[in-house]
């Protein structure tokens, strides 16, 4: 780093007012992120409107805090109540909630906070070092690669199916169909609208998320009113170094996944977290508990990834002027209002902005760690609240969250319908995870598959050929084939044999 870069980097660190703004932003971000339906995108959009009259540096400082804090905050309610505060936190609930049910919510949030911090720093480090290189890579990613990435995410269904794979696949396909409702993005034909105009706008995936996770959970919980509330052990908030060090390689691998996914235009923390969870479920041979039943690895992976995705999302924004996700799209708009032109010239015309942003993000990561660890005790108490009081409040928050997406009561009714349907699905052993996976990944697969086919003028042969002749696609195809083979009975026998051999060698 040159001397000037260092001075830009430290700009916020030496200005008490900027430090204060980053702290306020991070704090606000965490608490907005906690509430289901109040997304980081919304928090940034609302808060950014206050900053239009501010100095651009002050605005950028606060936004960095809100962004990072908001992405991190969503996992709190996912772990404590199985109701993710944001789509990026869905995966954190898969194992976090079982841990909370065991009375280990404090530990789960402590670990999540620590690895979120590491993940965020990793993403920022990549942003600082490799921004131009990564953004070029992101530009080379074609529709077929997005299709393959989303398909990789869908493979997670195998791990999330619960008692029966057929039920998992049913739920995944249902999710894909929910994601298809509305006007087709390419031909503008109405799809699955049953002839009504009310459904033409589609079903927002946060509506589905709140309904399936929030309301259905409130209904499941209400049956256990008399059950004694599990007291949460929050004596040990700082996770032991052994746990962190042991899982550092996993955390780094998932941070890497998160940074790359975050840098890809149109994909953000939600997909990064799901892919990282899938990676952990496949690569960790001996988890502390089975995945989905309270494996600490199942928190480490998605939390590292979704926070690393923040640094990743800034990469194409600062180097190319292309948003990495919805939040950076809002940020780009704000930069224009402040008279800056995000794009390749930004780094040449206003080089200080790049290092200033990197410095802000690092500072925000530290605030996230501080606020995250200090607030655990109060938060863990939330689970100890009697369900008779907590469940109605969850319904109210679900209404606020759903209504706030596009100010529509129809969405609220949908949310209720999903909640009731989700209750029955849960009771009969269908998992909710695959549905949300389908809702998020289905539309990505649909549109990118068709774009890819259109780009070959409908020639399937050429489409298949492109899958193996382009390096990025080829890597993804090989990964997918290997994963599929590993899931077949023959593949499982092979890996089991290899593990036995390895263990035998270790003993010798």
């Amino acid at each position: 780093m040159e001397a000037s870069a260092l001075s830009y980097f430290l700009m916020a660190w030496t200005d008490p007012y900027l430090i204060f703004l980053i702290a306020v932003g991070t704090f606000a971000g965490i608490y907005v992120g906690v509430i289901p339906g109040l997304s980081v995108t919304m928090a940034v959009s609302i808060l950014i409107s206050f900053t239009f009259s501010w100095d651009v540096n002050e605005a950028l400082a606060m936004m960095a805090g809100v962004f990072l804090g908001g992405v991190y905050g969503g996992s709190r309610t996912a772990i404590l109540l199985n109701i993710p505060g944001a789509p990026a936190a869905i995966a954190a609930g898969f194992d976090g909630y079982p841990l909370a049910k065991m009375g280990l919510a404090g530990m789960a949030i402590g670990v999540s906070t620590t690895v979120s911090f590491f993940g965020a720093l990793f993403g920022i480090a990549v942003l600082a070092v490799a921004a131009p290189f990564i953004s070029e890579l992101a530009l080379d990613v074609a529709p077929r690669d997005y299709l393959l990435l989303a398909a990789l995410g869908l493979l997670l269904i195998g791990a999330l199916s619960g008692e029966s794979l057929a039920k998992g696949m049913f739920a995944g396909a249902l999710g894909i169909l929910i994601g298809m409702v509305g006007l087709d993005p390419i031909t503008v034909e109405p799809r699955m609208t049953f002839g009504t105009t009310a459904m033409m706008g589609g079903i927002h995936y946060v509506t589905a998320m709140i309904g399936f996770f929030g309301v259905s959970e409130a209904l499941v919980q209400v049956r256990n009113l008399d059950k004694r509330v599990i007291k949460q052990k929050v004596d040990k908030i700082l996770p032991s170094w052994n746990v962190i060090l042991k899982h550092l390689p996993l955390s780094l691998r998932c941070s890497f996944i998160g940074t790359i996914i975050g840098a890809l235009p149109g994909t953000g923390g939600d997909i990064a977290a799901l892919l990282a969870y899938g990676h952990a479920a496949r690569s960790v041979k001996k988890p502390s508990k089975p995945f989905g039943k309270g494996a600490i690895e199942g928190i480490i992976a998605p939390e590292s990834a979704c926070n690393a995705a923040v640094g990743g999302a800034y990469i194409p924004m600062l180097t190319l002027g292309i948003p990495g996700d919805a939040v950076t799209a809002v940020l780009i708009g704000a930069l224009y209002i402040h008279g800056l032109k995000p794009g390749p010239m930004l780094m040449i015309e206003t080089p200080h902005l790049f290092w200033f942003t990197v410095g802000n993000l690092v500072l925000a990561a530290f605030f996230m760690l501080i606020f995250g660890l200090t607030g655990i005790r109060a938060f863990a108490k939330m689970v100890e609240m009697p369900p008779a009081l907590l469940m109605p409040i969850i319904v109210i928050l679900s209404v606020v969250g759903t209504y706030s997406i596009q100010n529509s009561l129809t969405d609220v009714y949908w949310m209720l319908a999903f909640g009731i349907f989700g209750y029955f699905l849960k009771r009969y052993g269908y998992q909710i995870g695959p549905i949300i996976l389908g809702v998020i990944l289905g539309p990505i697969m649909d549109i990118n598959f068709r774009r890819a086919i259109l780009s070959t003028r409908g020639d399937i042969g050429e489409f298949l050929l492109e899958l193996v002749t382009h390096p990025i696609s080829l890597i993804l195809v090989i990964t997918m084939i290997l994963l599929l083979i590993a899931q077949t009975p023959a593949g499982q026998r092979f890996t089991a044999r290899r593990r036995l051999k390895k263990e035998a060698a270790n003993i010798e």
């Binding site: 169909l177 606020v400 209504y403 706030s404």
Partner: protein
Amino acid sequence: MTRRLRPGERIFGYAMFLFSLFLFYHAYQISGFSSISSAGAWPLAAAGLMALCSAAIIVQNHRMESACTGAREEIHQFGKDILPPHPLLGYLAIIVAYMLVLEPLGFNISSFLFLFGSFWYLHRRGIFLTLALSFGTVIATYVVFRVLFKVILPEAEWLDLSALGLGG
């Protein structure tokens, strides 16, 4: 498999199969079997997969023993285990009523009524405590969301709070 069928699980399996066929029919209506890159291709494939999986689930269900003997016991167990009148069905009725009055009464009044109703129904404490709890929660929600975060909440059109300087 040692698990036993839950009450009503077999019927739910059939219902899901019919639901899938219904969705498949609607997916077919979009663009038929015209081409693999048509607007209807993915919905059709997804609905088809749903139908196949739900058929497989029906087969799985038939291989399992039911926890209940006879229809009468199954209905009894269903009412006890899956859809108990109290507290689940009662609470569900309160939630549905809440959603229905959201539009005519607006967020604040309907939420207060909903909280009062459900706290009273589920928590069963004194009326003043229940009143205080629901009032406090509504106020807190309003301050946090409407005032601090500027979130738009459903408002009753006839009740213009902005005239009193409270809304808007």
